[in-house]
């Protein structure tokens, strides 16, 4: 399996390990602290159903190489989408230009430690599955959604699949490859009732075969969840405005962790000391009920990787343990400058981008509480079970995430649905207010995409039901 990416680039583009070694050795020897070449070949496909028919289909191929040279804190990066060797040499020359101002340090880059995982070898990758089966599934999604409720006006179902072959080569002749399948089915419905319109969306996927959507009738659940959410929102009242106790449901609400602590614990911000979490290792940043993990090694998950985009095997990293900050997420550059080791979090969107520390699957460990008891413990509050996106200002620590499905809690009971509202908090404080953690940890369905510095990568999140004693809810009901 590990030989395959190497043979792929050799057969198709004549790029052998020896050629890579010569490229890095010749152009960069003796001038830089680290150098590598990242080769990527990506095929993706998207089918879109709307108004009952698949009217849009597209297929994309992209290929390219990124050459990186690092010296001290400096990074030179050049990329090209022409994989001919002379182009790579030119890219290496440009990447090196920056290193010319560097000290006399020799190339010290060593091969990544540890073996790559084998988390998503598939007999049939999703992109190879029969197109007619895919078109027919989208048709069934449409019919199911419309049959569920007469108020459904529009169904938009999208099935995306991709296969990415990567090969990372270092200066001492080492290479690490990976083949990464990924797929996602998303269903959005517009419902209309007496002039009021609403939207509901649901989806899922992962590094799984096409049949994943058929197993356990997942596609049916995606369709019915989208309809259910849209219909619930039709009856939603204005959300409250102000500080409230908030209960988050399991699964996707884990986006809280991604925004409140995840980004702030990425190595680059902490090396530069621009994060609200800078210099706080060993300190208490959350309630003792809170343990947060970033784990890139869970089989078939959207955020998982056999190796990161610098060739380092991914790992299960404990970020916060019983409330105490334990570790940052690192790539090679930032771990070298901070005198720690890479954690398997060096990721990039594509060959056109240099890697940086990024999350994989970020979640909170389960606690002891019964979810129903957690809700019962709240006199007046908000119960939020589905979210749109979130964002964080890592320097001030302020983060937001937007509830798309939420309910009022009154006297320990879940009552009326409320309109979407943004929740805002302060990263280093928010998790200190976690007072209950349920036993129902769930990971999300496989839809997350994280953006940082213009680069998007697939990620996962997870959460048990938790109670946060105080959070600002951005509704309109004063």
């Amino acid at each position: 399996m590990l030989a395959r990416p190497e043979r792929f680039f050799e057969d198709r583009f004549g790029l052998t390990g020896v050629a890579m070694e010569r490229l890095l050795g010749g152009a960069l020897r003796g001038r830089v602290d680290h150098a590598d070449v990242y080769l990527e070949y990506r095929v993706s496909e998207e089918l879109v159903l709307e108004e009952g028919a698949v009217k849009k289909a597209s297929r994309h191929v992209s290929q390219g190489a990124g050459v990186r040279a690092q010296s001290g804190e400096r990074t030179g990066y050049a990329h090209t989408d022409d994989l001919a060797l002379p182009n790579l040499e030119e890219a290496a020359r440009q990447a090196r230009a920056i290193a010319d101002q560097a000290s006399e340090s020799a190339v010290v880059a060593v091969a990544p430690r540890g073996r790559p995982h084998d988390l998503y070898t598939l007999a049939e990758p999703p992109i190879s599955a029969d197109l007619n089966r895919k078109v027919s599934l989208l048709g069934q999604v449409d019919k199911t959604a419309r049959d569920l409720d007469p108020r459904v006006r529009q169904v938009i179902a999208t099935l995306g699949s991709e296969d990415v072959v990567v090969l990372i080569a270092g200066p001492a002749g080492w290479t690490v490859g990976d083949i990464r399948p990924l797929t996602r089915l998303n269903v959005s419905v517009i419902v209309e009732d007496g002039g009021r319109r609403e939207i509901g969306s649901f989806g899922g996927g992962g590094r799984v075969p096409f049949d994943f959507f058929l197993e356990q009738d997942r596609w049916k659940r995606f369709a019915s969840e989208a309809v259910r959410q849209a219909v619930v929102k039709l009856g939603a009242v204005d959300a409250p405005a102000g500080t409230l106790t908030v209960v988050l449901g399991p699964g996707w609400p884990g986006i809280l962790l991604h925004e409140a602590v995840g980004h702030g614990l990425e190595g680059d911000f902490n090396r530069k000391q621009t994060s609200a979490f800078s210099g706080r290792l060993g300190q208490k940043v959350a309630s003792e009920l809170v343990t947060v993990i970033d784990d890139g090694t869970i089989a078939n998950r959207r955020g998982s990787l056999n190796v990161d985009d610098e060739g380092t095997p991914t790992a299960r990293n404990v970020l916060i343990e019983n409330g105490v900050l334990r570790a940052y997420m690192q790539d090679r550059l930032n771990s070298r400058l901070m005198n720690t080791g890479p954690t398997g979090n060096g990721r990039r969107e594509s060959y056109a981008h240099p890697p940086m520390p990024r999350m994989t699957n970020t979640f909170m460990l389960a606690g002891q509480d019964e979810p129903a008891d957690i809700i019962r413990s709240v006199k007046r509050g908000l119960y939020a079970v589905n979210f749109g996106g979130g964002q964080v200002d890592i320097t001030s620590g302020r983060f937001v995430f937007s509830a798309s499905e939420a309910y009022l809690i009154e006297d320990g009971r879940v009552t009326e649905p409320v309109k979407g509202a943004t929740l805002i908090g302060n990263g280093p404080e928010a998790l200190t207010r976690v007072s209950r953690v349920g036993h129902d940890l769930a990971l999300d369905e496989g839809v997350g995409t994280c953006g940082k510095d213009g680069q998007s990568v697939p990620v996962g999140v997870g959460l048990p039901t938790i109670r946060i004693d105080e959070m600002t809810v951005g509704g309109t009901q004063v």
């Binding site: 400096r74 989408d81 319109r197 939207i199 200002d393 805002i424 951005g474 509704g475 309109t476």
Partner: protein, 444 residues
């Protein structure tokens, strides 16, 4: 490039396409980031992208690649044609009528033939000067996420099987700084930038750096405020985010899917009479200008909202046909086909001096940054995290953070009580200072 497109379209026809269109983009870019005076990251790139859309009868499919070799182009054509055989026919699909196509490529002065001619060292130096100006402007500026310079030159070509072909070049230059201010254990980051099509028109690095520093410094000492319903003033960049939400809701695909709060609102009052929103792709040298849209139709000036009344949607050919209207020449292309995008979108300047608008508010919020995605395009419900300055008795009194602002976009636009006279095109979307009479600010 036009030859390559011509050959590919011919190949598509031979393989069974009834009609087709294709575009190619070639671009070259450079960026430099300097942090604390030292070079942090330098990026060089050369990229190309070829995309094809084919119609087989009334069925359509698209394919794209970054590999322009002959073999790859042949594969691309085969894939697009075979994909079009599995999609459902749609009688409204197809290229625009040939007589609507742009006859010539309007000279819009979008490239800078001399501006790119600068050594990497000189480009790095611009980034360094920009960051230094921020770092040196105040002792409380203690750290930085860097100063950045970037330039990009691109060449676009587009051709169709029904006779259109055109190409044009663009340039862009950007310079920015993102300093961090600190005081009493509090850290605040902010940034400032400038983007232009001509390097000579870039603001000076010192001016950008000092503005970035001022913006970070004024956030120090931020407090939370009590939840209340108050007037909210959006600074020009934040007001521009509000007109982007209008443009999304006015775009054809959102409308024919009923996924917009502007469904059925054409000809109706959707904003206060002081609100006029324009999209103008014909402004020479502007960042959003282009000679023809993604389907070869000449760009023009569109009055979207005229004195509060919704006058036009933003349509490509297909969404226009779906709505029984003509394209407004707003087609944009990506590898998957055609979508809708704005060109230079702006809120027309009003009569008010921005300082006057602030003075008119007794107790309210001046917003300088918004975060999060809490905008429901179907209902117009709006709830976002905000950073800004609190206004007390007509004065910017102190910085505030960890608050949200919420309302509904249709109501917010009707509650506009002041439009500033300070419209400046700093980006593809621009707006002057905007005063909304009442919104809910949630805090403690």
């Amino acid at each position: 490039m036009i030859d390559l497109l011509g050959r590919m379209l011919e190949q598509a026809r031979r393989r069974g396409a009834t009609s087709a269109d294709a575009y190619v983009v070639e671009d070259q870019s450079f960026s430099a980031q300097v942090r604390l005076g030292q070079v942090d990251t330098v990026k060089h790139a050369r990229e190309q992208h070829l995309a094809l859309r084919v119609f087989v009868g009334r069925s359509v499919a698209a394919a794209s690649t970054s590999d322009l070799s002959a073999d790859s182009v042949t594969r691309l054509v085969e894939e697009a044609v075979s994909l079009a055989r599995i999609t459902s026919p749609d009688e409204l699909s197809g290229l625009p009528d040939a007589d609507l196509l742009a006859r010539d490529v309007a000279p819009l002065d979008l490239d800078d033939p001399v501006g790119h001619d600068l050594s990497p060292e000189a480009k790095i130096d611009l980034a360094r000067r920009c960051e230094s100006a921020a770092l040196e402007s105040d002792p409380r500026i203690t750290n930085s996420e860097g100063g950045d310079f970037g330039d990009r030159r691109a060449r676009y070509a587009y051709a169709t099987t029904h006779g259109f072909s055109g190409e044009y070049r663009t340039s862009s230059f950007s310079l920015s700084a993102a300093p961090v201010a600190a005081q009493d254990g509090e850290m605040q980051r902010d940034s400032w930038y400038h983007v232009t099509r001509k390097r000579a028109r870039l603001d000076s690095p010192e001016e950008i750096g000092r503005t970035a520093a001022r913006r970070a410094l004024r956030r120090l000492g931020a407090r939370r405020v009590k939840t209340s319903e108050v007037p909210v003033i959006f600074d020009p960049d934040m007001a521009a985010t509000l007109i982007r939400h209008v443009a999304s809701a006015a775009s054809g695909p959102a409308l024919y899917r009923s996924a917009s709060f502007l469904v059925g609102k054409l000809g109706e009052v959707v904003a206060a009479p002081s609100v006029t929103i324009v999209d103008d792709g014909t402004i020479p040298g502007a960042l959003g200008s282009r000679p023809f849209d993604g389907e070869g139709l000449p760009v023009r000036k569109t009055l979207v909202v005229d004195q509060g009344v919704l006058r036009s949607y933003l349509l490509d050919t297909y969404s226009g046909r779906k709505l029984g209207m003509a394209s407004t020449h707003h087609a944009a292309r990506d590898g998957s086909g055609v979508s809708v995008s704005t060109t230079n979108l702006y809120l027309a300047a009003g009569p008010a001096d921005p300082a006057e608008l602030i003075r008119s508010v007794k107790n309210g919020l001046y917003v300088t940054e918004l975060i999060g995605f809490g905008v429901n395009g179907v209902t117009g419900d709006y709830s976002r995290g905000a950073v800004g300055l609190w206004i007390e008795n007509g004065e910017l009194a102190y910085p505030v953070e960890e608050i949200t602002i919420a309302g509904n976009l249709l109501e917010m636009w009707k509650r506009v009580e002041g439009v500033g006279n300070d419209l400046v095109f700093r980006d593809r979307t621009a707006a002057p200072t905007l005063l909304i009479g009442r919104m809910v600010v949630a805090g403690s």
